[in-house]
């Protein structure tokens, strides 16, 4: 396959989900008909099949790209040409597609997760009233993510970025009749906007400096020493601002609050958001712009990632909703990825994105399967009070749902970083990276947080597994109704479980760096000036080499401790969790309430905005209106007060005459001074004479104005004159504008004749 064909294929992949969206949104109702079930599901299958075609094509693209073309393949075209814009210069916008290894791998990940989520949704969303629309939105979600993946410039990336925001809004609010769902959708949308403002500003800084949106051109320009405003700090700022977009989309601290609420959407949507589309977009953005990040920006990114990982891992321990636990674990793992990228372990960070996409999508779909079963059992019983998502209501599901259980166990092992799983490879790589970074830069906090979070992850994930699947079910009656999910739901689970093993990424189960992935994803050379560059690839590799073994041992150790603690607490009941919670009730409440982020934001950000608007309202009502109204009443007082209350308020009139007299006297004195000035001559006499004249006129005018003459004749005269003239011309024009086409044709003919005579030649 040639490069052109690769580009064409990727465009086809890009447009397939969009086509699915358009088709389903316009013709979906026609196909699904009046709710007949077999026809109803057809719409879902259409979307699913389109995505599977896309998946097959993207695999072809990836394999060919990785085997045949080491360099990035790009294709671009001029989208718009404004010519020479005043104050700015030539303004052209080029758009295009680039397929490098990063994009090729991401393409497969997005298509794979999306296709399997589509398949799973056919079972999960069965019987939903907006089944067709749901699949249409899934299509547009995938499309927007593919836009981000394939683009070669910031412009389209921003477009895709906003499209992802929009489609996540639509999907999170899928059950918009539920207040919490529509609130969550709005929250996700608004919180993302905050990050996007930063990204937008960053893009604008880059565009203003380099006059291009294309990544490679910007990087080349930076490499040749051309940086924004000639200052390294501006470059750092641009990097951090662009990273703000990733903070919003990838749910990093402090904008992570939207993601747990987004659990209000259907569970497969959560899987899609968490694994392939939305949150991956942020990490992808950081990976894309990695080479323009300065050392300071990278440290910032690493700390944001570490803080995020820590906060959300602690929160996850105390949550009881199975999806909430998974949501916080996603945030925590995203923190890992961002931290990995930040410390310079570029390959590891992106590797974790890929492996995490597989097992996290699996975890969500598995939890979806459990919730589906619980929901049906509760529905069967007529019980609408018990929460089907609360892990305290579950237990012992292992026997009833074997496929879900075994796949779930595999995902959990993967996320905890147990050998032979993909999660072990990527997590270990990130941890080794943090250790190396800690060694090199003495930021020891980052590796400490990394290992601590690894232990926490193992602990809370096994807590979920034990509480959900092991032990006994509390209510035997409900337990009888729980069944394994249908094949459309279990097949994606099995696929993801298989993909959570090591051999797909590296044949050595203990070292990812020997696998194809590491060869495909070399860390790109930094383009920023050497002064502000992070540790070079060679130094970092050297440190990484030393850190590899300790990191592996340590991570195994902490994961083992975490799992052991989980079994001690929840399986063998050697440690009483409730008693602990009782003892440290302060900390427990703090964690249960998610570090009070929502409350703090509610009080300060939302409340602050409301207070600010109140202040503005007060300012508008009191100061602005006061000025306007005050001017009006003052004018009224002067003009009408004099006229109307000549007899009633003699004081007012006297004041007025007094002001007039004083003014005229002052002017007279000034003009006299001017006349007796040393610069004698005709000019000065003229000036003085004019001054005297003006003074007299002004004095007269003040009295006259007092009587309302000024208002009546001058002001009203102007207004009425304008009105009269517009009226006159209006009537004149009206004669011509009959509103009849035929009259206009006559005028056109007249014009043609005039042209005939004008152009009749010599």
């Amino acid at each position: 396959m040639t490069q052109e064909q690769l580009i064409q294929t990727s465009i086809v992949i890009l447009l397939l989900p969009l086509f699915g969206f358009l088709f389903l949104i316009f013709f979906g109702k026609r196909i699904s008909g009046g709710g007949e079930q077999s026809k109803h599901r057809l719409t879902g299958w259409i979307g699913t099949i389109l995505l599977f075609i896309g998946l097959a094509l993207s695999m072809i693209v990836m394999i060919i790209k990785l085997t045949n073309y080491p360099e990035a393949i790009t294709w671009k075209f001029q989208w718009i040409d404004f010519g020479n814009v005043p104050f700015f210069g030539p303004l052209q916008v080029f758009l295009g597609i680039t397929i490098d290894n990063l994009a090729a791998i991401m393409l497969v990940v997005v298509c794979l997760v999306s296709a399997l989520v589509h398949l799973f949704s056919i079972g999960y969303m069965h019987g939903d009233i907006r089944f067709t629309r749901y699949f249409a939105y899934l299509g547009v979600f995938t499309f927007s993510m593919l836009v981000i993946v394939l683009t070669d410039n910031f412009f389209t990336m921003y477009v895709g970025w906003e499209l992802v925001g929009l489609s996540s809004y639509l999907l999170i609010g899928h059950w918009y009749e539920k207040k919490s769902a529509s609130d969550a959708a709005i929250k996700a949308f608004i919180v993302n906007r905050i990050g996007d403002i930063g990204m937008f500003t960053g893009i604008m800084i880059l565009y203003y400096t380099f006059r291009t949106f294309t990544f490679s051109e910007i990087f080349n320009a930076i490499q040749s020493g051309n940086i924004p405003y000639g200052s390294n700090e501006w470059l750092t700022a641009a990097g951090i601002l662009i990273f703000c977009g990733a903070i919003g989309k990838s749910a990093q601290f402090p904008l992570h609050v939207w993601l747990p609420d987004a659990m209000e959407g259907p569970t497969p949507v959560s899987a899609l958001i968490h694994a392939a589309t939305m949150v991956a977009a942020g990490v992808y953005l950081v990976a894309r712009t990695f080479s323009m990040m300065t050392a300071d920006a990278l440290v910032f990114i690493a700390y944001i990632g570490a803080i995020t990982a820590f906060i959300s891992a602690t929160i996850a321990i105390a949550q009881n909703d199975i999806k909430k636990v998974l949501a916080y674990s996603t945030i925590s793992q995203l923190g890992y990825m961002v931290m990995g990228l930040g410390v310079g372990a570029y390959t590891a960070g992106f590797f974790h994105l890929v492996t995490h996409a597989m097992f996290k999508a699996g975890l969500f779909l598995g939890s979806g399967s459990v919730i589906h079963a619980m929901h049906h059992a509760l529905h069967h019983q007529g019980d609408h009070h018990t929460d089907p998502q609360d892990i305290r209501n579950m237990g012992g599901l292992r026997g009833k749902m074997p496929v879900t259980f075994f796949t779930f166990i595999i995902y959990t092992l993967a996320i905890s970083g147990i050998p032979l799983t993909s999660g072990f490879l990527s997590k270990d790589a990130i941890l080794a990276g943090t250790l190396a970074f800690g060694d090199l830069s003495k930021h020891y906090l980052i590796p400490i947080i990394g290992f601590f979070v690894a232990g926490l992850t193992a602990f809370y994930m096994f807590r979920v597994v034990i509480l959900t699947f092991m032990g006994g079910h509390k209510e035997t009656h409900r337990f009888e109704f729980i069944h394994e999910s249908p094949a459309v739901m279990t097949i994606p689970l099995i696929v993801f479980a298989v993909l959570s093993f090591f051999m797909f990424y590296s044949f050595n189960p203990f070292d990812a760096s020997s696998g194809w992935f590491y060869h495909a994803m070399e860390r790109p050379q930094s383009v920023v000036p050497t002064v502000v560059q992070a540790h070079s690839i060679e130094t970092f590799e050297e440190a990484l080499h030393h850190a590899h073994l300790p990191a592996m041992v340590l991570s195994l150790l902490v994961a083992g401790i975490g799992i052991f603690m989980a079994f001690m607490t929840y399986r063998w009941k050697k440690i009483n969790a409730d008693a602990l919670a009782e003892k440290f009730s302060g900390i427990y409440k703090f964690l249960l309430n998610k570090w009070y982020f929502d409350e703090v934001y509610g009080a300060f950000v939302v409340g602050g905005t409301i207070v600010f608007t109140r202040i503005l309202r007060w300012f508008d009502n009191t100061i602005i209106d006061g000025l306007v109204n005050g001017t009006a009443s003052w004018t009224r007082a002067i003009v009408f007060g004099y006229k109307d209350h000549w007899k009633l308020k003699p004081l007012n009139a006297k004041v007025f005459i007094f002001i007039g007299l004083v003014t005229s006297i002052i002017i007279l004195i000034v003009s006299y001074q001017a006349m007796s000035a040393p610069t004698e001559g005709l000019v000065s006499i003229m000036v003085s004479f004019l001054g005297a004249l003006c003074a007299g006129a002004l004095t007269f005018f003040f009295f006259w104005a007092g009587a309302g003459g000024f208002d009546k004749y001058i002001v009203d005269g102007i207004v009425n004159g304008v009105a009269y003239f517009s009226g006159f011309f209006g009537i004149l024009m009206r004669k011509l504008q009959t509103g009849k086409v035929q009259t206009y044709i006559v005028f056109v003919m007249l014009g043609v004749i005039v042209f005939f005579f004008l152009l009749r030649g010599a």
């Binding site: 316009f26 009849k740 035929q742 009259t743 006559v746 003919m749 007249l750 004749i753 005939f756 009749r760």
Partner: protein, 175 residues
């Protein structure tokens, strides 16, 4: 004066005279039928200009199609039994003046211009095959677009003219 010239003047007379009737007749039925002769005369002029295919097309489409349509229009929108079949006129005087000036200007321009004529003698051969080839090669895209335009016009005309009391257009749910 050759036979060619005589035929030309004959058709020119038919065309212009009947066009005059079309425009100046007060009775719309007369106008419609006079239009038939105009189209016929124009078709004759096409033949003289070595456009045999177009002449036939002119007869088929204009006489067979458009004129029938117009007649239907006349009959469907006028109460034939009434005397209202006569149509009023608007702004006759300014229109006459301006159109007369325009006609004069056009004729003058056509008359005084020294047209560059490539070949005076008409070569008599059928144009149908050549035109057909051109539509399949040079003018393929316009040809296809024209077919779509016709289709759209067909559907659109049917939709607009339909008088369905059961489903007024405002109640049609498009999604």
């Amino acid at each position: 004066m050759t036979l060619y010239d005589m035929i030309f003047y004959f058709f020119a007379f038919i065309t212009l005279a009947s066009a005059g009737i079309v425009v100046f007749s007060r009775n719309i039925i007369y106008s419609a039928f006079a239009l038939l002769f105009t189209f016929f005369g124009v078709a004759g002029i096409y033949v003289l200009l070595n456009a045999d295919f177009l002449a036939v097309t002119q007869l088929l489409i204009y006489v067979g199609g458009i004129l029938v349509l117009l007649l239907f229009g006349v009959m469907l929108t006028n109460k034939v039994v009434n005397v209202e079949i006569k149509t009023g006129t608007l702004q006759t005087l300014p229109a006459s003046i301006i159109v007369a000036i325009a006609a004069g200007a056009l004729c003058g321009v056509f008359y005084i211009t020294d047209w560059k004529i490539i070949h005076d003698k008409p070569e008599l051969e059928s144009t149908t095959a050549t035109l057909g080839e051109m539509f399949m090669t040079t003018y393929l895209l316009p040809f296809e677009v024209a077919s779509i335009v016709l289709l759209v016009a067909l559907i659109g005309a049917a939709l607009i003219a339909r008088r369905d009391k059961k489903f007024p257009i405002s109640n049609v749910n498009l999604l």
